[in-house]
């Protein structure tokens, strides 16, 4: 059948509008972001007062890193695929399957619409953040590379969330698993501490994990710790994770569908 983009644009638009109805939550998000930024700044200032800059990252750079990581989290912490878990538990996945749509794409569009609303908040949050900290701004070329890497990280993040929520097809309850993975991925993804601060051997491991593709790669590009000569390799790694997870997600989705259509959900 002919593929049409219109329904998916509509899904994204509706998700955007739906998210906007929760105004309080949106403002609390920004507030919590600023509070976290202030605390992180205090922590880094205190730590740097005692030690020499690790891995050649000066104080202003680490504060920039922290601020950008927090701004990225506005978008990356939105679990757009939570809808899978909810709909499987409510059983409304059956009604979704009765529509002439591609469901994973529907989930992606819905998640993207939600993300977009929160992405809009980045600009005011950034301006407010400037009252708390000073942020380094790299060259437009680096910014462009950062944006591209961020986009790839977003897709990797989406696919990881998709896989986690798809567990709901088998267990119905995914919250505990997700909480653990969220903590691990925040730490090992470099959202809190740059991965280049990890000791040698551990650093090799965490940089090789998929979590690094979400936060660490774009952030290190922003900071200049991944130089332009290494961009190709960095993007290739992110793309490889995207492809790997996409293939895995396809299999998991097929298995999930099989479960619904054969076992009746």
């Amino acid at each position: 059948m002919r593929f049409r983009v219109a329904p998916y644009l509509a899904f994204a638009k509706k998700a955007f509008a739906r998210e906007a109805t929760y105004r309080m939550e949106v403002f609390t998000n920004v507030g919590s972001l600023l509070a976290r930024l202030y605390l992180m700044k205090m922590v880094w200032v205190a730590l740097y007062a005692q030690n020499a800059a690790p891995a050649g990252v000066p104080l202003h750079a680490i504060i920039t890193y922290t601020a950008i990581a927090l701004l990225m989290s506005l978008v990356l912490e939105i679990d757009g695929t939570r809808i899978i878990r909810d709909r499987v538990r409510e059983g409304s996945i059956a009604t979704d399957l009765m529509k002439p749509i591609n469901l994973p794409l529907y989930f992606f569009s819905d998640g993207f619409g939600q993300t977009l609303l929160h992405a809009v908040l980045i600009v005011p949050s950034l301006l407010l953040a400037l009252f708390i900290v000073r942020i380094d701004v790299p060259s437009p070329f680096v910014l462009l590379a950062f944006a591209l890497s961020f986009a790839l990280g977003y897709v990797v993040n989406f696919l990881m969330n998709f896989l986690m929520n798809a567990i709901a097809f088998w267990t119905l309850e995914t919250f505990a698993i997700q909480l653990i993975i969220r903590w691990v991925s925040d730490l090992l993804g470099g959202q809190i501490v740059p991965l280049i601060f990890f000791p040698g051997f551990l650093q090799q491991i965490v940089l090789a994990l998929p979590f690094a593709a979400v936060y660490s790669t774009p952030l290190l590009i922003y900071l200049g710790k991944i130089p332009p000569s290494a961009y190709a390799a960095a993007f290739a790694t992110q793309l490889a994770w995207t492809a790997g997870f996409a293939i895995l997600a396809t299999f998991v989705w097929r298995g999930a569908l099989q479960r619904v259509v054969v076992q009746g959900g």
Binding site: K14, R18, A94, M98
Partner: protein, 337 residues
């Protein structure tokens, strides 16, 4: 050519056998023993376009399993199924364009957004042309009296309003077949009647085929000429409601209002009962006694101010079939319980 056709449609669910207790739970974790549960056993039926059929059966009879196979979200274990010429599970998306679904217990509207936004979303999903969308919106808005709450967020709607919204949502893309699952559950009498009128109206004016699954037999009595009864996965009756009534409803009740109060009433050939001193009920078997003869006997004996005859309710017939199973030649036992 029938719009819905099934042949020997069968669905068997296979689940892991669970042993009770903690040891049992551990055992299920490692060993896999399966239990087969037959949900639908060889259902064969054909529905013509424009029919309005009641699909009835007790809980767990296999109704929703059948509907799921017709909507393409469940693959049959064996047998054939076609909806508007399409094998639903093989071409789920294509089938989806031909069908509409309304669940009384589950809304497909966007909870947080104004009702109209859900319609716009469905317009995009089904690629309804702007002109057809306008026509349908006008038609449904008028028929379902939705103009007052089109811009209200769905979560603020009353159940009756929400159901009306769900009906419009299910039919915006002009489906040829619409599946209704308990569409009037929880509604008050006025809202129920509005929904029933709507279904009857659309069926008449647009020739849409409806399959109505419900436990509210008043819906069926009001809307359907034909009913299909399923029990324990097997079709036990498929035909006109009258046929069911004729076969089962051998008894009628003559209700008589008396001019003077009585303490005891009696007439040959009928069981008499006084519900109040001036209202008497005579149950009679219409195969051995005609209503006309009974009326004559009653009026010979008593001064009567009003008379009416009660038909057996579909509900009591169905109740009896659930209890005793369907028999083609039922005996003269009373249908009412």
């Amino acid at each position: 050519m029938p719009i819905i056709e099934t042949r020997e449609l069968r669905k068997v669910f296979r689940s892991v056998k669970r042993t009770p207790g903690a040891g049992g739970a551990l055992k299920t974790l490692f060993s896999r023993e399966y239990v087969d549960k037959v949900a639908v056993t060889g259902v064969t039926m054909a529905l013509d376009a424009g029919e309005l059929v009641g699909y009835i059966g007790p809980n767990g009879a296999g109704k929703s399993t059948t509907i799921k196979m017709l909507t393409g979200i469940l693959v049959p274990t064996s047998g054939e199924v076609r909806v508007a010429g399409i094998v639903p599970y093989a071409k789920r998306s294509e089938n989806a364009r031909n069908i509409g679904v309304v669940f009384g217990q589950r809304s497909q509207l966007y909870w947080d957004l104004p009702l109209i936004e859900s319609f716009e979303l469905l317009r995009a999903i089904y690629d309804v042309s702007p002109q057809r969308y306008r026509e349908n919106m006008d038609y449904f808005t008028e028929l379902l009296e939705m103009s007052d709450f089109l811009n209200t967020p769905v979560r603020q709607l009353s159940l009756g309003q929400r159901m009306r919204g769900d009906f419009a949502a299910a039919m915006l893309h002009d489906p040829r077949v619409v599946f209704l699952d308990e569409p009037t559950i929880g509604l008050d009498v006025v809202a129920k009647e509005a929904i029933r009128n709507f279904i009857a109206g659309v069926n008449r004016e647009r020739g849409t085929t409806f399959i109505l699954t419900t436990h509210d037999l008043a819906d069926v009595e009001r809307l359907c000429r034909r009913i299909v009864l399923i029990d324990r996965g097997t079709l036990i009756f498929d035909g006109a409601i009258e046929t069911l009534r004729d076969g089962y409803g051998t008894h009628r009740t003559l209700v008589v209002e008396l001019c003077a109060p009585e303490t005891h009433v009696e007439v040959d050939g009928a069981e008499a009962e006084l519900t109040t001193p001036t209202i008497a009920r005579f149950r009679f078997d219409r195969r051995t006694m005609s209503a006309e003869a009974l009326v004559r006997r009653v009026t010979e004996r008593y001064a009567v101010s009003d008379i009416s005859i009660e038909e057996p309710e579909l509900e009591s017939i169905i109740r009896r079939i659930y209890r005793e199973g369907y028999v083609t030649e039922p005996d003269g036992e009373p249908a009412a319980t």
